[in-house]
C-alpha cells in the first residue's frame, strides 16, 4: 500500500470516527443528559390515559325481572387536524343525522378534538367504526337504562351521565353497584393504535354487584295502578302506598305519585326525585291511635272492653281536644274508641299513662328516628319529648291521635307492622340479595329491631282492629279475608296552624288476621271527594289487598280453614 493510500485511509477513518463520535455524543445527550425531558415529551404524544369503566351492577326484582340495566352507547369524535373533512362529512353526516354544512363548520373551525355526536345506538356506532375513517373515533360507553321506565323509580333512583347514583337504591348502594374501574397508561403508535407490547392492558375493570330487590314487579305495577286510580277518583294531589311483609320487614311495593322516569331524569323537577314514602314526614293522624292503644294494652291499663265516658271534649294542658265529629259518644269501649276514631278517648289513655310511659312506647315503635331502610335519603320525622324546650303538656294529648308529631309513611307502617308481627318490629329492607361477578350470592336476613309489646297484647290489639274494621269501615273489607286496620284523617300543618279544610286521608291495614302476611298503608294527600281516610283510602286498600293476596298465594280464610 502506498503512502498516499494509507493517508487517505487515515483521513477516512478519522472522518468516520468523528461522525460516529458525533452520533454517540448526540445519543448520550438525547438519551442520558436530556433523556428524562425527551421521554416526557414522547409520553405526551404516545401515552394515552384510559379509564376503563366497569359495567354497573344490574338491579332485579325478587323474581328475576330486570329493573335497571346498562346499554352500550357511542360517542363520535374527530381530530380536526388530520381528518379529511370532505370524506368525513360525506360519510358521517348521513349516519349521524347531522346537516353536512353544520358538520363541516364544526370540523373546519376547531383546533382540538370535536364531539360530533353522543348517545348513539350501538348499530350507528358500529357503522362509524366500520368506516375506519382517519382521525375519527367511535368510543363506546355504558348508559344506565330502566326498561320499566316509571315503575319503582322512587326506590331505584337514577344514575347521572358521570355514573354517579342518586336517590333510592342507586344512591344507597352506589359504590357497590359501580364496581371497580381501571385507569391505565397505554402506549399508542402513530396511528393511535394500542401498542401490542403494552403490558398494562392485562388489568380489566370489575363489574359492579347485582342487586335483587324484595320488591315484586307485578305487585309494584298493581300498586302504582291503584294509586293512580285513587288519585283520579278522589282528586288527591299526591299519594303513597307501601306494601310490606310484617313478618320479615321485606318491602313488597312502594308507590308514590307524582313520579318520574329515571331514563329522563334531566327533564324532571328535582323535587320529584325525593321518595315521599321514606323522606317526607307528615302528621299521621288517627292511624297513630294503634300505637297509643298498644301502649295502654301492654301497660295493662285497659282491655278491649274497658269503658270510659266519652265527653265531647277534654282539656289537656290548657288545650281543648275534640272528637273529629265534635260529638260526645258517652260510655265507650276501647273497640268503640278505635272504630269511631275518638280523639278524646286516645287523649284520655295518654294522660292516664303519663308522658314518660306514653313516649317510651312511641320511641320503642321507632317514631322520631329512621327505620334504617336501605334506600337513600330516609327522614327521621319529628317528635317532641317531655323536657324539650318546645314540648308542651298539650302535646301529650295531640300526639296520642297522631297530630303534633310527624312520621314518614314508612315509619308508621313499620310501627303498625310490629303489632301484626306479634309485637316484634322488623327493620324494613328492599335489597334481598347481592350477587357479585363470580356468582357469589349474599342473601339479606330479616333483622328484628325490638319486641315492642308482648305477643298477647299484639294479638288482642289485632282483634280490636279487626272489630273496628268490621263495624265501621265496610269499604276496607276484603272478601274472603279477615282484616285488621285503622283509618286516619289528619290535618295538614302550616305555619301558624293547620291548612283547613285540607286533610291527609290514610288507612293502614293487614291480614289475614290469623296469620298476617301483608300490611298496606295507603296515604292520599288533600283528597277532594271526601276528607276522610275511611271513604277515600280504605277502598284502595281493599282492592289492592285482594289482588295482592292472590299474587302472594295467600288463600282465603275459608280455603285455609278447610285444609
Amino acid at each position: 500500500m502506498g503512502e498516499r493510500t494509507r493517508r487517505r485511509l487515515y483521513v477516512l477513518c478519522g472522518a468516520l470516527v468523528i461522525v460516529v463520535a458525533v452520533i454517540i455524543g448526540q445519543l448520550v445527550r438525547l438519551q442520558v443528559v436530556e433523556g428524562a425531558q425527551w421521554e416526557d415529551e414522547g409520553n405526551k404524544i404516545h401515552t394515552y390515559t384510559l379509564t376503563l369503566t366497569a359495567q354497573r351492577g344490574r338491579i332485579w326484582d325478587r323474581n328475576g325481572n330486570l329493573l335497571a340495566d346498562n346499554i352500550a352507547r357511542y360517542q363520535v369524535t374527530a381530530d380536526p387536524g388530520p381528518v379529511n373533512i370532505n370524506k368525513a362529512v360525506d360519510q358521517l353526516a348521513p349516519l349521524l343525522n347531522i346537516p353536512p354544512n353544520e358538520m363541516r363548520a364544526k370540523l373546519a373551525g376547531a383546533h382540538r378534538q370535536v364531539l360530533l355526536a353522543t348517545k348513539l345506538p350501538m348499530a350507528t356506532g358500529d357503522a362509524v367504526r366500520k368506516l375506519d375513517l382517519w382521525a375519527v373515533y367511535a368510543t363506546p360507553y355504558w348508559q344506565r337504562s330502566y326498561p320499566e321506565h316509571q315503575l319503582l323509580s322512587h326506590v331505584l333512583g337514577f344514575v347521572n351521565a358521570e355514573g354517579q347514583g342518586y336517590y333510592g337504591v342507586e344512591g344507597q348502594y352506589d359504590s357497590m353497584l359501580r364496581g371497580r374501574e381501571e385507569t391505565l397508561q397505554e402506549n399508542r403508535d402513530a396511528y393511535a393504535q394500542p401498542s401490542p407490547f403494552d403490558p398494562a392492558r392485562t388489568d380489566e375493570p370489575r363489574s359492579g354487584v347485582d342487586l335483587v330487590l324484595t320488591i315484586d314487579r307485578t305487585m309494584q305495577a298493581l300498586t302504582e295502578a291503584e294509586l293512580a286510580r285513587a288519585l283520579s277518583e278522589t282528586g288527591a294531589k299526591s299519594g303513597t302506598i307501601i306494601a310490606m311483609d310484617p313478618r320479615t320487614g321485606a318491602i313488597l311495593a312502594i308507590a308514590s305519585l307524582p313520579t318520574f322516569d329515571p331514563n329522563n331524569y334531566t327533564e324532571t323537577p328535582t323535587s320529584r326525585f325525593v321518595n315521599p314514602a321514606v323522606s317526607a314526614p307528615y302528621e299521621p293522624g288517627s292511624t297513630f291511635k294503634v300505637l297509643t292503644m298498644a301502649a295502654a294494652l301492654q301497660e295493662g291499663r285497659v282491655t278491649p272492653n274497658t269503658v270510659y265516658n266519652d265527653t265531647a271534649w277534654i282539656e289537656v294542658g290548657g288545650q281543648v281536644i275534640r272528637n273529629w265529629d265534635r260529638k260526645g259518644h258517652g260510655p265507650s269501649t276501647m273497640i268503640d274508641l278505635l272504630a269511631n276514631s275518638l280523639n278524646v278517648g286516645a287523649a284520655t289513655l295518654a294522660t292516664q299513662m303519663g308522658g314518660q310511659t306514653f313516649y317510651r312506647y312511641v320511641q320503642a315503635f321507632g317514631i322520631g328516628r329512621p327505620t334504617g331502610i336501605d334506600v337513600q335519603g330516609e327522614a327521621s320525622g319529628s317528635l317532641r319529648m317531655p323536657g324539650d324546650l318546645d314540648w308542651h303538656e298539650s302535646d301529650l294529648a295531640t300526639n296520642s291521635f297522631g297530630q303534633g308529631l310527624s312520621t314518614t309513611p314508612l315509619q308508621l307502617i313499620s310501627a303498625v307492622a310490629a303489632v301484626a308481627n306479634d309485637g316484634i318490629q322488623m327493620r324494613p329492607y328492599v335489597v334481598a340479595q347481592k350477587v357479585d361477578g363470580s356468582g357469589q350470592v349474599l342473601t339479606a336476613k330479616p333483622i328484628p329491631l325490638d319486641r315492642v309489646i308482648s305477643a298477647q297484647a299484639a294479638r288482642t290489639l289485632t282483634g280490636m282492629l279487626e272489630q273496628a274494621v268490621l263495624r265501621e269501615n265496610a269499604l276496607a273489607h276484603v272478601p274472603g279475608y279477615r282484616i285488621a286496620g285503622k283509618t286516619g284523617t289528619a290535618q295538614i300543618p302550616m305555619p301558624g296552624g293547620y291548612d283547613d279544610p285540607w286533610t291527609i286521608a290514610s288507612f293502614v291495614g293487614y291480614g289475614p288476621v290469623s296469620d298476617p302476611r301483608l300490611i298496606i298503608l295507603v296515604k292520599l294527600d288533600r283528597p277532594t271527594s271526601s276528607p276522610y281516610g275511611g271513604q277515600t283510602a280504605s277502598p284502595v286498600f281493599a282492592r289492592l289487598a285482594a289482588r295482592m293476596f292472590v299474587l302472594m298465594g295467600v288463600p282465603s280464610d275459608e280455603a285455609r280453614a278447610s285444609r
Binding site: 332485579w60 401490542p196 334481598a432 350477587v435 302476611r517 285455609r560
Partner: protein
C-alpha cells in the same frame, strides 16, 4: 490484486499483512493462517449477531402479532358484551309490564273477576314468599 487483498483484514483488524511476513519473490501472495482465522471469526461473529438479531426480530414480531390477536379478541369480547346487554335490554322491554298488558289485551285476556282457591293438602302449609333460591344473577 496482490495489493488489495491483504488490506481489508488489515484495516479491520490491524493484523500484519503478508507484506511484512512474506517476501515478494514468492510470486503468489496468500493470506497466512492468522488472517484466515480472523476472517472466519469475523464471519462467525457477524453470523451470530445476525442470528441474534433475527431471533429478536422474530420474537418481537410474534409478540406483536400475538398482542394484536389478544387486542382483537378483547375487542370482540367487549363487542359481544355490548351485544348481550342490548339483547338483555330488548328482552326486558318486551317483557315489561306495559308490553305484557298490551299483548295480553290483544290476545283477549282480562283481569280475573273472581278467584277460587282449591285446597291442596299435599302442599306444605307454609308458602311464605321467598326469593327464588336457584336464581344467582346474570353474570
Amino acid at each position: 490484486m496482490g495489493q488489495v487483498f491483504p488490506t481489508v483484514p488489515k484495516l479491520l483488524s490491524g493484523i500484519k499483512t503478508m507484506d511484512e511476513q512474506t517476501p515478494e519473490s514468492h510470486g503468489i501472495k496468500q493470506p497466512s493462517r492468522p488472517i484466515e482465522s480472523a476472517v472466519v471469526k469475523l464471519a462467525l461473529f457477524v453470523a451470530l449477531v445476525g442470528l441474534v438479531a433475527g431471533l429478536y426480530l422474530w420474537q418481537a414480531s410474534e409478540i406483536a402479532v400475538t398482542g394484536r390477536r389478544i387486542e382483537a379478541l378483547r375487542q370482540r369480547r367487549q363487542d359481544l358484551e355490548r351485544e348481550n346487554t342490548e339483547l338483555l335490554e330488548q328482552i326486558a322491554v318486551e317483557g315489561s309490564i306495559p308490553a305484557l298488558q298490551e299483548r295480553a289485551a290483544r290476545l283477549g285476556f282480562s283481569p280475573a273477576a273472581q278467584v277460587d282457591f282449591v285446597p291442596v293438602t299435599a302442599v306444605p302449609r307454609d308458602t311464605m314468599p321467598t326469593l327464588r333460591g336457584q336464581w344467582t344473577g346474570s353474570k
